[in-house]
Every structure is written in C-alpha cells, then in structure tokens.
C-alpha cells in the first residue's frame, strides 16, 4: 500500500503551488480584465479588480479598426507552415543522428543549439538585406523560412532525444524485413515516436505563434501575424491599455485553447523524454 502523505504537507504544497500558479497567471488575468474595462478605468491610478463597469466596447473597436481575421490567418499559415517544414527536415535529421551517430554528432547537436544562444538582432541586418534582395520581405513564405530555421534546433533536439530511446534492434529488424529507409521511418519509427513528434509539433506551433521579433521586423502589412497586430496598438496613437489588452486577448486566445487541450503532450515534450 502506498504511504499516505501527511495532511500539513498537502496543505503546504497546495498553497505554494497555487501561489506560484497565480503569480504566473496574473498578468494574463489582468490583461483579460483590462480588456473589459473602459480606457479610463484601465488608466486609473487606483485599479479595481472585479468591481468596474464591464464593457465589450474594446473588442468592438479592435474588430472594426483592423482586420483581425487576416492577421489570424497569417499566424495560422506561418505557425503551421514553419512547423511542417521543420518537421520534414528534423525527423530525418534526428533519425540519422540517433541511429547512425558519428564522432561529430554530439558536436553538431551542440552547434545547432548554440545558434539559439545568438541574439536574433545580431543577424537582423544581414537577414533583412537578404530578404530585401530576394523579395521575401513582408511575405508569409519569408516568415515561414526564418521561423522554421530558428526553431529547427529545438525540434531536432526534442526528436533526437525521443528517437535515441527507441531500441536500434527494432529498426534493424525492420531493415531485415525489407523496409527501405522511408518505410522504416513511416511504419516503425514514427508510430513509436508519436508522443515525441506530437509534442515537438505542438511546441513549435506555440513558439512560432508567439514569435514577435522576426514578424515585427520582416513584415508590415501583407504577411503580418497576430503579434504584429498586438504591436500595432502599442504606440502610434498613444497607449490604449484597454484596446491593447483586447487585441492581445484575441491574439493569444486560439493558442491558449490549443495549449489547454494539449497540456499533457506539452509537459512530456518539455521534459525532453525524461518522463515516460
């Protein structure tokens, strides 16, 4: 029989967990509340938590002022596009590194990860110039490429860590059974790595959805995703807290819902295969 945890300990851990959870969640909650306030109430120096005049005027204003659906569609295309391209590259890459490692495999993995340590602004100018010359500025394709490249290291790492736990014997058995490399990946590796692939996919969608640096710098109107949509409420006409909050809420709502439904997969992905 499992040992029963003492009651004071349950109480203490619950209090700590809820406190930490609320602290992390508070900015999102506050954004949500602010989006239902009037601009005046949002600016008030004595902010009220729940007892204010609830209004949806900010949502109406945001909806009429800008074309939310176009931004949202751009976000969907860019997030899914960059994820699918990254998946198509990272699955074979991780497969080869996990099952046919060479002396340099570790080094290559570290090198790939090291590109994530480089501040993106460091390569902004060259990438901007390349994009300008290639006609990729303000195109969805351009953002798909840059986000795919920036998230590729994480995808490869995640999948590599999943794949390397799959016994090599099983893939060799498939090879003896006459499976080509393609069939080996489709029939054996992919089904066995479904949790890993799913969480890598999900994480990548979320990262691409929330990405702001490249989307703000490389798009203006045609390909601008929701992060640019939020930013458009930030400065030009002064700060409108309530409308900014409404825009932000609309921008994060789809991904929040997705994340909510897939949190189990996400946790597995983020623990890098440590939890089985």
């Amino acid at each position: 029989m499992a040992r029963r945890t003492p009651v004071p300990r349950i109480v203490l851990t619950s209090v700590v967990a809820w406190t930490v959870g609320l602290v992390i969640f508070f900015p999102i909650l506050w954004m949500l509340l602010t989006s239902f306030k009037t601009e005046l109430a949002a600016f008030s120096s004595s902010p009220s938590f729940l007892f204010f005049h609830w209004t949806t005027e900010n949502y109406v204003a945001v909806w009429t002022r800008s074309n939310y659906l176009e931004y949202a569609w751009n976000s969907v295309v860019i997030a899914l596009g960059s994820t699918l391209v990254a998946l198509a590259i990272s699955v074979p890459a991780a497969w080869s590194m996990a099952f046919s490692p060479t002396k340099r495999t570790r080094g290559i993995l570290m090198w790939m990860l090291s590109t994530k340590m480089l501040p993106p602004v460091g390569v902004l100018v060259p990438i901007y110039l390349l994009y300008r010359d290639a006609g990729l500025l303000d195109t969805r394709l351009g953002l798909v490429i840059v986000l795919c490249l920036s998230n590729l290291p994480i995808m490869v790492w995640l999948l590599f860590n999943y794949f390397k736990d799959i016994p090599k014997d099983i893939l060799e058995a498939a090879r003896m059974d006459g499976a080509t490399i393609g069939k080996e990946i489709v029939y054996i590796l992919a089904p066995m790595a479904v949790p890993g692939i799913a969480s890598a996919l999900l994480l990548n969608v979320i990262l691409a959805w929330n990405e702001a640096f490249w989307s703000l710098n490389l798009t203006s109107s045609h390909a601008a995703p929701l992060t640019a949509f939020i930013a458009s409420y930030a400065s030009p006409e002064g700060l409108f807290w309530a409308k900014l909050s409404a825009a932000s809420t609309m921008a994060i709502a789809p991904i929040l819902v997705l994340g909510w439904f897939c949190q189990k997969q996400l946790v597995r992905g983020l623990t890098f295969g440590a939890v089985k």
């Binding site: 016994p167 014997d169 099983i170 058995a173 498939a174 090879r175 003896m176 059974d177 499976a179 066995m192």
Partner: protein
C-alpha cells in the same frame, strides 16, 4: 538453398580491428553455432553476414552469389535478435506479416503464411495481442515466427535465448533445433553458452579475439581441440591444462586432461607400466549425487579437477591418486597448438 561462404572477411571499427580475416564455409541446411567469450566478435560476424554492418575487407557469398554490398533484406536471410526486437505498436499478426507486406505479397498469401507459422509456433490464440501482452517465451516465438514466414535461405540467431529463464531456455532450445531440422533451413546461431553450442550445433565455430580458432562438429572439438584455447573453452567442467615437468615427460609444452578422464583412487597407488599416476591431497569435494567433483592439489602440477560418476567417498584432506586415461591426454606445443 542457403550456402553461406565467408572469404577473408575483416571488420574494423575506426582503428580497431575486430574481425581478422574470417574464412568459413557453411553448408546448406546445417545448424552452425558461433561460440566464444564475450567480445570475441561472434555477434559482429553474424551482423556482417546479415548486412547490418559493412565489411571492411573480404567477401560474403550466399549460394555462390556475392552479397557483400547488398542490403540486408536482399540477402534472403532472417534474423532473430537477442532483445526479440518486436514492433511494439503492432499486433502479433502484423509483426509476423510485416516482412511479407514489405515484399508486397498478396494478402491471402500473407494470411496463409501467418496462419501456418502461428500454427507451428502455438501462437494462433495470440495473433491479435500486442507484444507487451505476451510472456518472454511467447515473444521469442513471435520473433521466430517473423523469421520463418519469409521462408529465407538462412536464419541468423543472435543469442536468442539469453533473456529467458533456465527452464524455458532448455525448452526453447529443443524447439529451435526441432524447427530447424523440420524446415531444413541453414541456421547461424550465436551464443556464449557452450552447452547450447554442443547440444544444438551440426558444426561449431569457436572464435577468440576476432579470429576463428577451430571449426568442427561438437565431438570433434571435444575430442580433438586444435589449440589450448579451444581445449579450455569447450567442455564443462573445463579441461585441466598445465605446464611443467609432467607435461615435458609426456613430450608436450602444455598437457591437458579432461576431468572425466581422471580416475580417482583413494590412498597412494603405483602407476601401471606406461601410465601416469599423480598423488595429491583433496582440497574440495562436491557431491552432486549423480557425479562427484574432486579438486586435488598435486605437487609439481597444481590443482586438478576430476569428475567421477556416482558417489565417491572422499573428504577434504584425504590423500588420493589420480590415474589419467593415457589415450585421452591432449598434448600442445610451445605455440599452444595441438600436437599430432
């Protein structure tokens, strides 16, 4: 047909040479066992035949056709892995059928073959289960089923019984041997267990440090080991091997005598003409009922192990005389090779 020929096969991993020029002829339909201590290269040699490793030099032929550069599946061989390597996400039926599906065999033919293999291996009731729901012995049978449905030219077994408990191992040993005889398919079997090797093989290949030391039938290896290594490796309990004046007196550098070829006589005895008699003190006696193992410290030779059939009443400290069967002495020269 399934005649496998190795011609000067070598294998190196980076700068380390693990197989030093293996030459071997495996006749069609024979059960050949690779045996040797761990790290001797037996599994590597099997994987080279399978095509799971690339050879560094030499050629591999199957039925006279050079398959050295051929992909594993194109060689017409099936392999049973130590870990079984079943596909965990597929039912037993799909596991067995996978190779046939890859070969684009018609559905009804696949079903017929799977049903046939399942019948032979007593798996008919388990066809819709996943590997995770099977016992170790059943998983082993699925792995064998997967190998036989393809009707290959040869089976490759990589220590397939080492994960089973002792009783099941004996049972599966019999089943594998029976199956191979029934199918008359060439089999190459890797093990470090010499009892498996002796009981299953038509022919044994003894390996050490990447070299083939001797090839022969189990009894040939037992009766005429080619060198000191094979003499010490084949046979249980192992052969007594010693150097010194007694070996010299018998015209050898190293002299070997198997425990079952030493007769233990209590007290001191005189050697009959032309025979040896080695007096010593019992340092340990193991009474198994069917046999008695007596360890005797002989001055000038060292500790000798003798195996006597039935119960022999000796105790630690007793003085005994060991009388070797002079026709069963094994003489080895300075190069450790058997002398004619």
């Amino acid at each position: 047909m399934g005649r496998i020929t190795l011609e000067g096969v070598t294998k190196s991993f980076d700068d380390t040479k693990v197989i030093h020029g293996a030459d071997l002829e495996i006749e069609d339909g024979k059960f050949v066992v690779f045996v040797g201590p761990s790290g001797c290269g037996k599994t590597t040699l099997l994987r080279l035949i399978a095509g799971l490793e690339d050879v560094s030099g030499g050629r591999i032929l199957i039925d006279g056709k050079d398959v050295t550069r051929l992909a594993p599946a194109k060689r017409g061989l099936s392999m049973v892995f130590q870990s079984y390597a079943l596909y965990p996400h597929m039912s037993v039926r799909r596991n067995i059928a996978f190779g046939l599906k890859m070969a684009r065999m018609p559905k009804d033919e696949i079903e017929r073959r799977v049903a046939h293999a399942a019948g032979i291996l007593n798996l008919t009731d388990y066809l819709d289960r996943r590997p995770g729901q099977l016992s170790g012995g059943q998983r082993q049978r699925v792995a064998i089923g997967r190998a036989i449905v393809r009707e290959p030219k040869g089976f490759l077994f990589d220590e397939p019984l080492s994960n089973l408990d002792a009783a099941l191992r004996v049972q599966m040993r019999l089943e594998v041997t029976r199956l191979q005889k029934q199918l008359k398919t060439t089999a190459v079997y890797v093990t470090h267990d010499q009892v498996e090797a002796m009981t299953m093989a038509d022919q044994i290949v003894v390996l050490q440090a990447g070299r083939i030391e001797q090839v022969g039938t189990p009894l040939e290896l037992y009766q005429r080991p080619a060198n000191v290594f094979v003499a010490g490796f084949i046979g249980s309990p192992r052969m007594n091997l010693f150097e010194g004046p007694v070996a010299k007196r018998n015209g050898a550098t190293t002299l070997g005598v198997r425990p079952e070829h030493l007769r233990v006589q209590p007290g001191e005895a005189v050697a009959p003409a032309g025979c040896e008699a080695w007096g010593g003190t019992v340092i340990q006696a193991e009474h198994l009922g069917s046999d008695t193992f007596v360890y005797v410290d002989v001055p000038g030779i060292g500790t000798l192990d003798a195996r006597c059939t039935g119960e022999l009443r000796v105790q630690v400290g007793d003085t005994v005389t060991l009388l070797p069967d002079m026709y069963q002495l094994h003489r080895f020269d300075a190069q450790q090779l058997a002398m004619a």
